[in-house]
Symmetry: C2
Subunit: 215 residues, 2 copies
């Protein structure tokens, strides 16, 4: 029975792994070609499976896009949660959030989706994603304010600063390749360290000159 | 004759103005819906003209997208040119370039296109745009190196830093509204000032707390 049960678990794990690979592939293709420029058949072909096999994981292309966006928002809120527990001031909290978020969305299993084109998701799904995104941005702005009050962040406009940081972070999805010189931890560390310099009231510290030297 | 000539000039000017408005509208819609999610009919409808009228300006949707990207790259290189003439060190040159570029691409007449989805332009046009984009990024990296050498920019990885700054700058197209509180000059000043803090070897200066207070 134990063997059988392990086999069952393995199947579940395998299904979960396949689902992750599917989401990653879909996110990469959506980011490159746009939602309307991508078909489920393309994604199936890239994965070397039949379209029918994909339908055991998702009902439609729109559901797949929704799952990609949901995974990115899950990554955002998990990172925020961890950062709130670890960070000792506003700056640390925001920096930890962004670093963990970036590591997750460019990680091998969960390349995030950033482009939410109008008219691609159902009105309900759109509302869900935009609602979560707005909430995340609001939490980020609160952390900037907290940092200004506790003295860890320079006086600045939180809305502008949060959009600037999220732009730099989300843009990574447009140019990063996991097959390049830098792994996701190295890249996330160096990119966020660059942004931290812009926020910080502390004296300038050395920046990583080559992310590949950071482990 | 003078009157007639003025009338002709006016027509040319009017045509140029209409072309600018068309490019701006197209760039906004492409950014929001993606290339494949947009039709020339949508753009014509938004502008309150017939599709036939649009065809006196462009031959196809792909040409329109190419013109949007070309306008953004023109803005990039014009900005670089001006900045090279004005900037006194690597940091000033890069900062001036990015500020002018941002002002231009979010300006009322020339909202830039940032998303280049695969398979939307002809191979030739794709090569042209990607070639110009790569060249611009290379020039930016050279300015970062120049700044490191002349002491105006902290030691850092130019590739990462340039992608970070371009991410923050290009992302503005995703969230900025010219009908909001900030005009393009105010926004560009504050956003680039934020990025300059991350680059600079100089002591921290105050950041603009509200771009609306900057004139």
């Amino acid at each position: 029975m134990l063997t059988w049960k392990s086999a069952v678990l393995d199947n579940n794990e395998q299904r979960e792994k396949k689902r992750e690979v599917l989401l990653r592939e879909a996110a990469v293709v959506f980011t490159r070609r746009g939602f309307h420029g991508t078909s489920l058949a393309d994604i199936a072909e890239n994965l070397g499976v039949t379209k029918a096999a994909l339908y055991t994981y998702v009902q439609s292309k729109a559901e797949l896009l929704f799952l990609c966006h949901s995974a990115a928002m899950d990554a955002a809120f998990e990172s925020l949660q961890e950062a709130l527990a670890q960070g000792r001031n506003g700056r640390e909290k925001i920096i930890l959030t962004l670093r963990m978020y970036l590591e997750k969305i460019i990680g091998r299993q969960s390349f995030g989706a950033i482009i939410l084109e109008e008219g691609t998701l159902t009105p309900n799904d759109t509302e869900t994603i935009i609602g979560r995104r707005d909430l995340f941005e609001r939490e980020m702005r609160k952390l900037v304010l907290e940092g200004i009050v506790d003295g860890s962040i320079v006086r600045c406009n939180p809305r502008l600063v949060v959009f600037g940081m999220l732009g730099a972070v989300n843009w990574v999805l447009k140019w990063y390749s996991p097959d390049g010189m830098w792994n996701e931890k190295q890249l996330a560390f160096a990119m966020i360290q660059f942004l931290e310099r812009a926020l910080s009231t502390q004296a300038v510290e050395a920046l990583i000159e080559d992310p590949a030297t950071h482990s």
